[in-house]
């Protein structure tokens, strides 16, 4: 019974102060939230824009302007070896990144947090082994799954998406287990059992809402990871295949031109970094806003 004693005035006073300063904090949101939000917005905007407008049609080859440097009239960021406009390629690449990361993150989030909730709600005796199994899954390099899939099914977006899901499910599960267990240990859950609520109800009505801030943060960070993994798989050649454009594949193709046209590897890389950074910063900002203290200290 560690909770028998009141934690005394310090904690309560701090709680009061915290509650009171909520408004204050909302008014001066962390800079990371703005920056991250802006980068994410730009990324999504560019990806969606590519459906209606790109400087040149997809796979349009400007054969006269091959390997044009950045700033060449008509080609803001230059062209590649085949004369494709880099801006166009990057916009189309954003589209593929967005597609793969949305699908994989949503599926991995739903699957992973469901597994996490199930483990948190499982019988006390089963919880330890199950948690450790998730840990083991977490330790495994997800790229192996991707490569096995690619060897079997061939490279492609499906392989990449499935691999990212396999990679991220243990992450989502692991992050969910702890906080879900914390919520389950609170008195209002016991009260709910007391008036006859069953576990599924408690999970959906009590646990899920209480860990939702955490899941939002997690989703954002997983998005960033998905962007990076998609790029890495495409770079290795086991991800998306031509003619679909992808930042990672673009880097792979221009790797040999490192000396001749370094700008070709610079811009797609920058696009990946900025997008991943956007989601990471957004996650960090959300973490600050959604009050980690609350999630950590048992929602006091």
């Amino acid at each position: 019974m560690p909770e028998t004693a009141p934690r005394g005035s310090a904690t309560n006073a701090a709680a009061e102060v915290r509650r009171d300063s909520r408004w204050r904090r909302l008014r001066r949101l962390p800079i990371t939230l703005y920056l991250g939000g802006l980068l994410v917005f730009l990324f999504v905007f560019v990806a969606l824009l590519s459906f209606v407008w790109t400087p040149y049609p997809p796979n349009h080859l400007n054969l006269r302007n091959r390997l044009a440097g950045p700033g060449t009239p008509g080609f803001l960021l230059g062209t590649d070896r085949a004369g494709r406009d880099v801006v166009t390629e990057l916009m189309l690449g954003a589209r593929n990144s967005l597609y793969v990361s949305v699908v994989s993150t949503v599926v991995a989030m739903v699957l992973g947090s469901a597994i996490g909730l199930a483990i948190a709600g499982s019988h006390r005796v089963a919880q330890g082994p199950l948690t450790r199994l998730v840990d083991a899954g977490l330790a495994l390099p997800g790229i192996l799954i991707a490569l096995v899939l690619a060897a079997k099914l061939g490279a492609g977006n499906t392989t990449a998406t499935l691999a990212i899901i396999a990679w991220q499910v243990p992450v989502a599960a692991r992050v969910t287990i702890g906080p879900a267990r914390q919520v389950l240990a609170l008195d209002f859950v016991e009260a709910a059992y007391g008036y006859g609520r069953r576990k599924p109800y408690v999970m959906v009505r009590h646990v899920l809402p209480n860990i939702s801030p955490l899941l939002i943060v997690l989703g954002s960070v997983m998005f960033a990871a998905a962007i990076l993994i998609e790029a890495a798989l495409a770079f290795l050649g086991v991800g998306v295949q031509p003619p679909t454009s992808s930042w990672g594949r673009f880097l792979n193709e221009t790797q040999s031109l490192l000396e001749a046209a370094p700008y070709l590897m610079f811009f797609p890389g920058l696009a990946i970094v900025l997008t991943a950074l956007g989601f990471n910063l957004l996650g960090d900002g959300l973490r600050t806003v959604l009050d980690p203290q609350q999630a950590r200290s048992g929602l006091a």
Binding site: M1, P2, E3, T4, A5, P6, N12, R19, H123, R124, V125, L186, D187, F188, E190, A191, A192, Y193, G194, Y195, G196, R197, R205, H206, P209, N210, S212, Q294, G298, L299, A300
Partner: protein
């Protein structure tokens, strides 16, 4: 016939393996009787199993050995309508009001939960206002969230919630230990008044002998998961039979204010 009868009850929390001895058992061979409309206090130090005991009695935890009877019926054998009925008649008030209300639910929703779950209907605001009035609160708290209210208000809401399904017996687990002294007195008085008005049976766990001796006519002293002494409060505390109870009493008296019984 007593309202609640606990006979040779043993309890342990779930674990992979259990040793042959008594060390794995949180509660050992407990026998307690609670008469209808009586007041029973359970005292003991932390880890003595007092909170676990009322959870078993209330049906929140299931014991492994022995019998717990409510209204003459073994609670382990109840099912369907009978089980719901038993739940409805056994209600619990928790120690920490901030932890006993879901921070993501409005008071309206939290307050209506027992009726929704046990009686399968949604109470309207008029009905809920009535419950709140009983504990000295207005309907203005209904749309609020727990973090917008004080500890005392939340504990009143916790009590109102427990009473919403018209229980026969109310279990209170350290109901005031998380509250300020000035609010403690309000909540204790409220519990006493409600108990008398509604003819409730009250079983209360507390580490504070002063609180228990005001609230409860009978008392059970627990130590290391077993009952070591029980009986009318004035007998158990007035003339303790065990050294442990004497020590408990001595320590409590040392660091308490002396008060005249009649002055209140």
């Amino acid at each position: 016939m007593a309202l609640v009868e606990v006979e040779n009850m043993w309890f342990h929390y779930p674990r992979a393996r259990l040793g042959a001895g008594v060390e794995g058992w949180t509660l050992q061979d407990i026998s307690v009787q609670v008469q209808a409309q009586s007041t029973l206090g359970i005292v003991g130090e932390s880890g003595s199993g007092k909170s676990t005991l009322i959870r078993v009695m209330c049906g929140l935890l299931r014991h492994q050995r022995g019998v717990v009877r409510f209204d003459g019926r073994d609670i382990a054998g109840l099912s369907g309508r009978d089980a719901v009925d038993r739940r409805q008649r056994n209600q619990m008030v928790f120690q920490n009001p901030r932890r006993s209300l879901d921070p993501r639910m409005t008071i309206r929703r939290s307050l209506s939960e027992p009726v929704r779950a046990l009686l399968d209907r949604s109470p309207d605001d008029t009905e809920m206002t009535g419950w709140l009035e009983r504990v000295g609160l207005g309907p203005d708290v209904l749309p609020r969230f727990p973090h917008q209210l004080s500890g005392g208000q939340l504990q009143r809401i916790g009590i109102a919630r427990s009473l919403s399904v018209n229980p026969t017996i109310l279990y209170a687990d350290e109901p005031v230990s998380a509250l300020d002294v000035s609010v403690q007195a309000q909540v204790l008085n409220l519990l006493m008044d409600l108990r008398e008005q509604l003819g409730l049976t009250l079983v209360m766990v507390s580490h504070d002998l002063g609180v228990v001796s005001r609230m409860c006519a009978e008392i059970v002293v627990m130590r290391h998961g077993a009952v070591i002494e029980s009986g009318p409060t004035e007998v158990v505390l007035g003339a303790p039979a065990t050294d442990y109870t004497r020590a408990l009493l001595h320590a409590a008296r040392a660091a308490s204010l002396e008060r005249e019984g009649a002055e209140g």
